[in-house]
Amino acid sequence: MKEIRIHGRGGQGSVTAAELLAAGAFDDGMFSQAFPAFGVERRGAPVQAFTRISDSLIRLRSQVYKPDYVIVQDPTLLEVVSVESGVKDNGIIIINSDFEPEKFDLNTNAKIMTVNATKIALDIIGRPIVNTVLLGAFAGATGEIRSESIKAAVKARFPGKMGDKNAEAMQKAYDMMVEAKI
């Protein structure tokens, strides 16, 4: 089983991202589970959402404490939230940032990868909506889900032109991550 924790701020679509990831993974033939860290949601406040992906039925209902992967939607969260908390040594932390991964001094053995999802979103979607872009980056960085599956999940949720643009931005982030791995 692989566990993913998504950090964002209220309004950034972290919960939606977790759900889309679960839908995409199921489309890939896996079992999945997505849920928010139930809090008193306020726009701008730090929020978390979780996804589990497994090749067998998922029964566990606790929150995620030792994620394999972490997605950080907003780099300013690093000042207020310990995003590296519990991440497995062989895990990956994907941060939305225009800085190089080396700039981030986190207390972890996990690999840090960065992608400027905000720029990609502004360039392609025209709005700074980064959650879907980061899902593309996740697929590219981890190989846990096919880019076609996660794009299909996004397009199913946002039909039409909006979905197409999101998919395009996701593919770009996916390609950048695949390249960064090499």
């Binding site: 977790a18 759900e19 839908a23 199921f26 999945s32 928010p36 139930f38 029964r59 209902r61």
Partner: protein, 404 residues
Amino acid sequence: MTVIRDLDKDKMVVAEGSYTVASAVKACKPNVISAYPITPQTHIVEDLSQFMADGEIPNCEYINVESEFSALSALVGSSAAGARCYSATTSQGLELMHEVLFNVSGMRLPVVMTIVNRAVSAPINIWNDHQDSISQRDTGWIQLYAEDTQEISDMTAQAFKIAEDKDILLPAMTCMDGFILSHVHEPVELLESDLVDEYLPSYEPEYVLDPKNPMSFGAFADPESYTEFRYLQQQSMDNAVKKIEDAATEFYDIFGRYYGGLIDEYETEDAEIIIMAMGSVIGTIKDAIDKLRDKGEKVGLLKIRSFRPFPVEAIRKAVKDAKVVVPIDKNISLGLNEGALCTETKACLYNTSINMPVVGFMIGHGGRDIRISTIESIVEQAKKVADSGIEVESQYADLKEEML
């Protein structure tokens, strides 16, 4: 028989627990739905409202009301007039219904209501525990608890079948853990309307409110007859013991899914320690048991699916060979320092030849997360009880003593 799911991925979709429930309700073709939104139940009535707006629930009235008291009161009239009735609520909303709950059961109206379990105030807390529904234990409603979103979906159809049976005619609460199940997205098979038609016959009440044939419901019962009304309600609860099992097996025959009837058992056959629990924590406990079994620990799980009627005989049979029984409760009876499952398990083992320690642990109150490690530490303490007897009969498993 333990949980059986013929997992057919082609039929499954990833859906939110609340949507899964709303879809199940739709497939059961209710005639009246009353709605008063309250977190974390809101999505269920919202989704039903959408189905109504899209014309997907024919022959149904959706009533917006001004409070939970009204939500259930509206169903008293509707159900008495012969309608299949549904509502959903949680926490303070359920507590506000308290008075009406007795009316529904006393008038023998087979209303089905989803309880999205949540803690009660004060202090204000919107997260999950079972204090809300457990506090309605004696209202004469059947109470069933689900471990995942597929089960709460399937349980909805089962509840209508049980409640509307002529030998039962009692209302039923189907309980799902707030947020943990109501807000989770996971793969499920949404209830298929044509299969539900096959499973669930239409509601044919024997007596209905009808101006052409005037009749009183819930009228006066003086000391001459009140006791007998109560006796008959209990008799129906006794009948429900078998009907709940039947409803589960008949559901299996048509849908190929089974989650237990009154109870379900997991790894209990040779278990020295048997944990008892209800609701979504069942899944976490099963994972914990797999880990403990790998280490050679003889631990099993007795899932309580029906809390009312309380499955006295089934529990006795399931635990009789264990060394220690460990009920886990997401509720507390203040003044007794025990959860309801602990108290009632002890009661059902008393006056029998079964004699073993019962140690209760309260856990996960107000949404405190329940981890596998907490279950493991409970089992660790249960082992000590098995070896050297009880020191503390009931306690919190996750108390932060440093905060006191």
